[in-house]
């Protein structure tokens, strides 16, 4: 999947992979790739500013800790982040349902 196709959805994807618990930056990238079956082909360097943007918007909280002998910033989904994720899921379901209905080949028409 091209990076342009992911643009606009990256924030929601990040919130989704953090739903199960706190992760550091590279673990988030791995989780994104694993959950997409390797189809997400975006520059991994774009994930770090996105994490900071979500933190600035209070959807994530971040803190430094030593993981595996290396200083890493670990992110946790906040209450506002869970709410934003639920909203994004609902909007996405509605959007895909509408697009699918339009794209589906017409049947039974004369």
């Amino acid at each position: 999947m091209r990076p342009a196709a992911v643009h606009g959805h990256l924030d929601g994807l990040i919130l989704a992979v953090l739903e199960d618990g706190p992760l550091h930056g590279y673990a988030i990238i791995e989780a994104l790739q694993a959950r997409s079956g390797g189809a997400l082909d975006l520059p991994t360097g774009t994930v770090y500013p996105a994490l900071r943007r979500l933190e600035r918007s209070t959807l994530l909280s971040g803190s430094w800790s030593t993981v595996g002998g290396r200083e890493r910033r670990t992110y946790t989904l906040t209450r506002a982040g869970r709410h934003a994720l639920a909203t994004q899921r609902a909007e996405w379901s509605e959007f895909t349902a509408v697009v699918e209905a339009v794209l589906r080949p017409a049947t039974g028409t004369s």
């Binding site: 360097g45 774009t46 770090y48 500013p49 600035r56 918007s57 200083e71």
Partner: protein, 224 residues
């Protein structure tokens, strides 16, 4: 001997970024750690160390691809920091002068003229307005939907306009005060307050210019 690809890439990214030092260093350190993690993952998959580092850098993206989003975030942080400072400094200056007058430490001298009273009222209004604008802009920095560059530029302009309006009105007020100003400036407490106000205004101008300059950095200006 060639430089380590990860160290070189991180250094190249750091060179093009501008903004609050602590946030910049934190973002760079985080990206560096992520690149090392990625290289280790490639090594675990069987690649030699140098090849693994090259692959990690390739996945990360070029400086031209990733720097604009890093810079946007740094610009946003600068805007938030400046907005918070302005939201505190302008009302504090107003409260500080009100406290000084009401304490009796400084006497006004002869009765103030109508012009001085009008200017003082205008100064209070401008200060409150700028303080409220800074608070509103600070709140906007929490929204993801608003482009960071716009908010940060608005913060810089708010500080610059506030400093010019408050500084200019204060000078006009003291000039119009005539003998009353001379009387006031014989008081050490008043002199200390004036010096402190000048220093604070200079810092606000400096912070505003710094903030506006950061906004003038366009993402397209990065080397691709």
């Amino acid at each position: 001997m060639t430089a380590d690809p990860i160290t070189s890439h991180v250094a190249a990214l750091e060179r093009v970024l501008r903004g609050p030092q602590r946030t910049r260093q934190g973002m760079i350190a985080e990206a560096h750690a992520g690149l090392l993690d990625a290289a280790e993952a490639y090594q675990a998959g069987g690649l030699p160390p140098e090849k693994a580092a090259v692959e990690a850098v390739r996945d990360f993206g070029t400086v031209g691809e990733v720097a604009p989003s890093f810079q946007d975030e740094l610009t946003a942080r600068q805007g938030r920091s400046a907005a918070a400072q302005f939201a505190i400094v302008f009302p504090t200056m107003l409260a500080g002068w009100d406290l000084l007058w009401s304490s009796g430490l400084v006497r006004r001298g002869p009765a103030a003229t109508e012009v001085v009273v009008s200017l003082a009222g205008f100064l209070d209004t401008v200060t409150v307005f700028i303080g409220l604008a800074a608070v509103a802009l600070l709140a906007v920095t929490f929204l993801r939907s608003v482009p960071p560059r716009w908010v940060t530029r608005a913060v810089g302009l708010t500080g610059a306009i506030g400093a010019l309006a408050c500084g200019g009105t204060s000078i006009a007020m003291n000039v119009a005060g005539g003998h009353s100003t001379v009387t006031m400036l014989r008081n050490p407490a008043a002199i200390a307050a004036v010096v402190a106000s000048v220093v604070v205004m200079a810092l606000i101008v400096w912070q505003s210019v710094r903030t506006l300059r950061l906004c003038s950095r366009q993402p397209s200006g990065f080397e691709r």
